[in-house]
Symmetry: C2
Subunit: 340 residues, 2 copies
Amino acid sequence: MRMIKWQNGTVITPDQTKLPLQEATLEIKTVEQMAEAIKTLRVRGAPLLGAAAGFGVAIAAYRSKAKTTKQLLAELETAGALIKAQRPTAVNLFWGVDRVLGKAKTFSGGVEELKAAVIEEAQKIADEDAAQNRAIGKNGSVLIEDGDTILTHCNAGELATVEYGTALGVIRAAWEGGKKIKVIADETRPLLQGARLTAYELKRDGIPVTLITDNMAAHVMSKGLVDKVIVGADRIVQDAVFNKIGTYGVAVLAHEHKIPFYVAAPKSTFDLSCKAADVTIEERKPEEVTHVGCQQTAPDGVAVYNPAFDATPLKYVTAIICETKVYYSKDFPAFKKGKL
Amino acid sequence: MRMIKWQNGTVITPDQTKLPLQEATLEIKTVEQMAEAIKTLRVRGAPLLGAAAGFGVAIAAYRSKAKTTKQLLAELETAGALIKAQRPTAVNLFWGVDRVLGKAKTFSGGVEELKAAVIEEAQKIADEDAAQNRAIGKNGSVLIEDGDTILTHCNAGELATVEYGTALGVIRAAWEGGKKIKVIADETRPLLQGARLTAYELKRDGIPVTLITDNMAAHVMSKGLVDKVIVGADRIVQDAVFNKIGTYGVAVLAHEHKIPFYVAAPKSTFDLSCKAADVTIEERKPEEVTHVGCQQTAPDGVAVYNPAFDATPLKYVTAIICETKVYYSKDFPAFKKGKL
């Protein structure tokens, strides 16, 4: 199911802030509306943001009344700057805007042709992401056996991408291939992407899913209830996988219980220029920990530590599933030399 | 600070359902009020429930207009039955009621003397629990070094006991002994006893505390931010420690990071008649996982697994701190023979 669609100048995408309680659809018709949707996390998930950014510039092209390509390009630059400003640390936003703007800048032709080229490039970003995820799913599904129960953390699902998902893409491909699998979803505090999004999209698609709190993962593993773990990744460096906070703990527990731990991510996630020690982990506001939604759960003014990501050393990773191939532990030493 | 006090026929205790946002005090004057406070978790925590149960029977004695000891005993039996019925699986409730009733039944004397004996026995339960926890604190504090950062899970604190706490008793004793320690508190989903109670009572007492979500424990350990782990226990069997869900995961993570993992609990927690495999773990209602307070966080009707406790095999436990001594791994094999 496409999470983001271009329909005659309107971008159609689910309002993720309303999930799982309400399935509302956004109809984004202006750059300002796209900027607001990104800012307020109505649209979220790294690959989906890349596509949303491209479509944001495409909307500016579609609505433009520019008479010259110079004027049109200036308008696209303004639209791109507005989109980038919404979440200054989201690299995919920058990547999506720059890819479409880059195409526009090198294009030669009239105003209408330029508009069409910009819209086409945005559409291409979306199509490529969808194809990539299906390839990841296909490559990963061979690792899944009929009857497996798979634990996942956070949401590396369709809702974070244009279509199909990465970790959940592997699960989806195995399910579509007729394997009777079950999923255990960690709720993933503090922002509960597992409870809100992973549980929602698997339930919607009829894939059996059981929700647990993060601290139940060890217990379900010790009871023999988990055959495999699959998670996504935000950044893969020479010696570690960065992903949503809590991933590292799950990896250590999987290792202790001799359960394979798989990472599913596109090759664009690799950043082999650095090591885990070089990466600064984003710390987010205390309210995410002291509150759930508007409900306060901790005393006023208590000190909080709220890292958004953690690093899982590669020794805990069984394999990394990409769109072109699966990397096993024998392939990991090459990462230190910057090689894939 | 006494969590439960007898004051001229009135039992004074904090309303724990209001914490940490409000510090409200209950003044319990009737058995019915005590029953309601237990039922609604205004009073909770195994050792505290034992004392509350005893005081519940003491209130019945204090308020009684019985003319004969036979009539008084009948009234105490009725009061005890009402208290036990509030939480049928809380063993401390049964233990507290039965201890006071047992005293009453074997007492010889008049009505007023019997009333006094019942009140005295209830008071004794409370005093003994307080003394026991101070002894645990003293025994455990020698294991804590100046400057240590200690991670704890759930609330094995003053709020769960009559005074001082068990795991937090050790922390309190080290702090009172002048050791400059810091605490990291897991929030402890689903019921958030770490966020609501541990963070509250340590902050109130001026002991530095930082709150994290449960899935951040692995990350803080990997960053070298944790020197020791201390938790409480609900039941210690021949080969494992049963405690709040999530404890086992913390123990595995501590083991992997070579961090000592201590359990603090009174000797009454030991049940060496059985092994971990013999124990059925209570599963609680799905709403605890799909909701935080009144806020729904997961899709309607999603499947949930919600075990209340987990089992930590003794191989992950560095030592068990009791009121009489500290048991180290060399002492654990004797547990299999039922010996302490």
